[in-house]
Structures are given as structure tokens and as C-alpha cells.
């Protein structure tokens, strides 16, 4: 491995291709930590946004008009405003309203840091899309299948959990995958509130080391690989959920 890093170092010395973020242990370390933060951010947001989508779609089937209107308002507002402004609103406007807690060093610090706020705002943003995606999947479930579950004594929650949701997920998987890949890409916005994710770390490295072009190529490659990986995982999920003789 070390000889490989030496090779990259030689590339810099003889051709001016500056891949310092690979061969320098310190830069490599912070870049890897940034990438790990991106992956964590993406995975947590995906899970949370899917949960929000499931709960929202369930609430939309409610008989309470007020509840339905609230969910509808949430969806429309988060779908039709910029995710970046949402994130600023969460972090800069809501953040200071939160109570402060005293950490182990006796210093008062905000209850939620920038990472947590990024998770919240991105999850609510993507969750708004997921509610509508799940809803369209739920509408594709045959009413007669629901009736059969009803006649077997399932209650409303049981029907939703055991029959409607498993079928709805299969119907809406393509749209869901699309949205979740978008979410993974949108995590770059956390840069704006200084979450040390990949883009943020990369920008630090290129200002310190003046290797914008090389850093950019690395960054784009990383995100293409990340998106590619998500697409691959989603395809696996789709195959795992495939039921013989059902659907497309």
C-alpha cells in the first residue's frame, strides 16, 4: 500500500497531479471520515424518511379530517419549498429555540448539533415525497384483498401492517428508490450548515492544498460510486421482495 501512495506522491512531483488527499495520511483520514459521515447521514435519513412516509400514508387514511389536512399541509409545504431553506430554517431558526444542555466539560451546548439538524431536515424533506409515494402504492392494493383480511378479523392497524403495506411497498418500489437516491445526493446540502460530510471536507482540503481539480474528480467519483451502490442495493431489495406470479 505504501508503495502505491509513493507512486501517487511521485505523480505530484513529476506531473503536478496533486492527489495529496490520498497519499497524505492526515488528509486521507479526514476525507475518509467525511465519506463515512456522508454514508451515515444518507442511511439514517433514508430510514427516517421511510418511517415518516409510512406513518404519513397511514394517517392519510384516517377518518379525522383535521389530521388528513395536517398531513396534506406537511406534504405540500415540504415539497414546494427549497430543501436548503428548510435546512437553514431548522438549523438557524429552530435550533436556537431548543434548550441547551451542559456537557461533561460543564459547557452549555445546543441539544442538537448540525448533524442532527441535517438529519431532521433532510428526513422531513424526503419524507414528504415518501408519503405520497406510499399513498399511491396503497391505492394500487386491491380493495377485495383488504376485504378478505377484514373478514378474517384483522383490525385496521393489522390490515395496514400485514397486508396493505407489504403490497404497497412492492407497487411503489421504483418511485421510492428514485426518491431515496435523490435523498442520498441531497445530503451534500449539509455542507451549508458545516456538517463535516464529504463535500465539506473536500472544500477544506482544496482550500488548504490548492488541488481543486483533483479534488473535484475525486468528489464526483465518490458520489457516482455512492449512488451506484445505492442503486445496486435497491435492485437487490427489489429482487428480494419479488414474489412469484405477482406484479410486473
Amino acid at each position: 500500500m505504501d508503495s502505491f501512495w509513493e507512486l501517487l506522491r511521485g505523480l505530484h512531483d513529476s506531473y503536478g497531479i496533486n492527489l495529496v488527499h490520498f497519499y497524505d495520511g492526515f488528509e486521507r483520514g479526514r476525507l475518509l471520515r467525511g465519506m463515512w459521515t456522508t454514508v451515515k447521514l444518507a442511511v439514517i435519513c433514508i430510514v427516517l424518511s421511510v418511517v415518516i412516509g409510512m406513518i404519513g400514508a397511514w394517517l392519510q387514511g384516517s377518518r379525522l379530517k383535521l389530521l388528513k389536512a395536517l398531513v396534506q399541509g406537511y406534504i405540500q409545504f415540504f415539497r414546494n419549498t427549497p430543501p436548503l431553506v428548510q435546512m437553514y430554517f431548522f438549523y438557524f431558526a429552530l435550533g436556537p429555540q431548543m434548550p441547551r444542555i451542559v456537557n461533561e466539560h460543564g459547557i452549555a451546548q445546543p441539544m442538537l448539533g448540525s448533524f442532527e439538524w441535517a438529519v431532521l431536515s433532510l428526513s422531513f424533506f424526503a419524507g414528504a415525497f415518501n408519503v405520497e409515494i406510499f399513498r399511491s402504492g396503497i391505492e394500487a392494493v386491491q380493495k377485495s384483498t383488504v376485504e378478505a383480511a377484514d373478514s378474517l378479523g384483522f383490525n385496521r392497524l393489522q390490515i395496514y401492517w400485514y397486508v396493505v403495506l407489504p403490497l404497497a411497498i412492492r407497487f411503489c418500489l421504483p418511485a421510492l428508490n428514485n426518491n431515496l437516491v435523490n435523498l442520498a445526493k441531497t445530503t451534500t446540502q449539509a455542507y451549508a450548515i458545516a456538517v463535516p460530510e464529504t463535500l465539506f471536507v473536500a472544500s477544506q482540503i482544496w482550500s488548504d492544498r490548492i488541488n481543486v481539480f483533483e479534488m473535484m474528480i475525486t468528489l464526483l467519483t465518490f458520489y457516482l460510486l455512492l449512488v451506484g451502490m445505492f442503486v445496486w442495493i435497491m435492485a437487490r431489495v427489489e429482487r428480494a421482495l419479488h414474489v412469484p406470479g405477482f406484479g410486473r
Partner: protein, 294 residues
């Protein structure tokens, strides 16, 4: 988004499906209500904040409403004798959409080219820009294009907002290319055959026969991408353009009053909502209208 044709009924006690056809659902009958609700909620939040601020300070500081009103012209139109603010967001969205649409059209046609090389290159470009994060592309263009270009002795400056516009047009281009490719593929083969039998060249067939038929199909997703693009424009504040986001933060920095945080950011959200929500409704309306006809 993909729509699913299930059995017309749905699970659980759901609201009755809107009647099909143009008469049943119009964009007009829903939009004002939702807008009114959002504006109403915003006003309540502002007034509540106002009351709270009054109770706390009681000092001579300007009321929240008055402060918002005072800053609104700046946030909407930028500083005097300078172009900026929300108007710049909209201008950038128009220009980026125009560039992205034209480039995407050619890229989409390139994907169905008879030459394998053109096809593969178009496909690769499309996938690359479709799957890269917007913000990374924006940085890419901002940092790696010169601040001016020299053509035939003339020096043309490239201001930051123009570069940012170009950066935002790249993902639009790639996604529109996918829309073009998809809708061309959805035109029945018989159309190609009949055009060919009438001695149209391939280019003539595409431009005179196929694409005109695609317009209707492409309009709703195209509008959807316009809305997505508009909501991505605040990203240009990160790379130093004087858009509504930047100016809002400038205003907050000038005021130094924490009770203004929620109303000011809220106001910006409302600006975007008021602009984007009707577009979304209109898109859905067109989607349903065209779906009924086809």
C-alpha cells in the same frame, strides 16, 4: 412520479376519487385555499412571535412585522441599482431551464442516434450529470471555469451568477434528456414507419413527426423539473451569489435580533411556496388532462 393504475378503489376509508376528465379537477379550485392556509399560518406565527417579543423586551425595537416589511423589497429585488434577491432566483431558474432544455433535447436525441458512438457518449453524459449531486456540480462549474473568456480579442466577463446558472442547467439537461428519450420511445413504431414510407429523412422524422407528438407528454415532467430547479436556486447563495437566501442572511446579520430568525426564514419559505405550489398544481392538472386523452 410514476402513477399506478390499480383498481380504482383504495384501501381503507378514503376520500372519493375525483371524477375523471377535464371538468372534474381544475388547478384553480384548490390552489387559493392552500395558499391562504400557508399565508395564514405564517401570519399567526409572526404575530405570536411579535407578542412574545413585546412581552420580553418592551424596548424601542421595531416590531417584527415592520421589520419584515422593511426588508421585503431588498429580499425580493436585491439592493438598489443591482440585480439580486428573489428576482434573481427566478431569472436564474428561467435561464438555466432554457439552457438545460435545449441541451437536454439534443442529448436525448443523441441517445437514440443510429451511431453507437454518439449513443454511448450521450448516455454516459446523461448518467453522469443525472447522478451527481447538484451542489457538487455547482462547485465544479464555479471553481473550474474562468471568470472571463477571450474570444477574438474581446474579453467577455463571466459573472458568478452566470456561472452558477450554467452549473444548475447541467442536471436539468441530463434529466430532460431522459424525458426526451422516454417520450420518443413511447411513440408507436408505426409513426416511424409511415414517415419513412413518405420518404422523410431520419432527422426530418424526428423533428417534424415524432417530437411534435412528444410535446404534450413531456410538458408535465418538464414543469416538474422546472419546479425542482427553482427550489435548487438557493444553492447559489453557497457559492456567493446575491440571491434571496444570501440577502435574507445579510438582513438577519444587520438586525442581530434572534426573534427575527423564524419570521425571516419563514418569509423566504413562503416566497418560494407561493411561486412553486401553483406550478405543482398546474403540473398535476396537465398530467391528468393529458392522461385522459391518450
Amino acid at each position: 412520479m410514476r402513477r399506478y393504475q390499480g383498481d380504482a378503489s383504495c384501501a381503507g376509508p378514503a376520500e372519493p376519487a375525483p371524477p375523471a376528465g377535464e371538468s372534474g379537477y381544475t388547478a384553480a379550485n384548490f390552489t387559493p385555499r392552500a395558499l391562504a392556509i400557508v399565508l395564514g399560518v405564517f401570519c399567526v406565527v409572526v404575530l405570536a412571535g411579535e407578542a412574545l417579543a413585546q412581552m420580553r423586551s418592551g424596548g424601542p425595537s421595531r416590531s417584527i412585522v415592520a421589520t419584515l416589511v422593511a426588508w421585503t423589497p431588498l429580499i425580493l429585488f436585491g439592493p438598489p441599482r443591482e440585480f439580486g434577491g428573489f428576482a434573481l432566483n427566478i431569472a436564474v431558474s428561467f435561464l438555466a431551464m432554457a439552457i438545460g432544455t435545449v441541451a437536454g433535447l439534443f442529448l436525448g436525441i443523441g441517445q437514440i442516434s443510429l451511431s453507437p458512438a454518439v449513443r454511448k457518449v450521450s448516455w454516459a453524459i446523461t448518467q453522469f450529470f443525472r447522478n451527481s449531486p447538484w451542489l457538487v456540480l455547482l462547485f465544479f462549474v464555479m471553481l473550474l471555469t474562468p471568470f472571463q473568456i477571450k474570444i477574438a480579442g474581446y474579453t467577455i466577463p463571466l459573472p458568478a451568477w452566470l456561472k452558477a446558472t450554467f452549473g444548475l442547467s447541467l442536471p436539468v439537461m441530463a434529466n430532460f434528456a431522459e424525458i426526451v428519450r422516454g417520450s420518443i420511445n413511447s411513440i408507436p413504431t408505426s409513426q416511424w414507419e409511415s414517415a419513412e414510407s413518405l420518404a422523410f429523412t431520419r432527422m426530418q422524422t424526428i423533428w417534424r413527426i415524432i417530437l411534435p407528438q412528444c410535446v404534450k407528454r413531456m410538458t408535465p415532467p418538464w414543469m416538474n423539473w422546472y419546479a425542482i430547479l427553482t427550489m435548487a436556486t438557493p444553492l447559489i447563495s453557497i457559492v456567493g451569489v446575491n440571491d434571496a437566501m444570501t440577502l435574507t442572511q445579510d438582513a438577519l446579520a444587520a438586525e442581530q435580533r434572534s426573534e427575527l430568525l423564524m419570521p425571516m426564514y419563514g418569509l423566504l419559505l413562503v416566497f418560494f411556496f407561493v411561486y412553486c405550489y401553483p406550478i405543482a398544481r398546474w403540473t398535476i392538472y396537465l398530467e391528468r388532462k393529458f392522461a385522459v386523452r391518450s
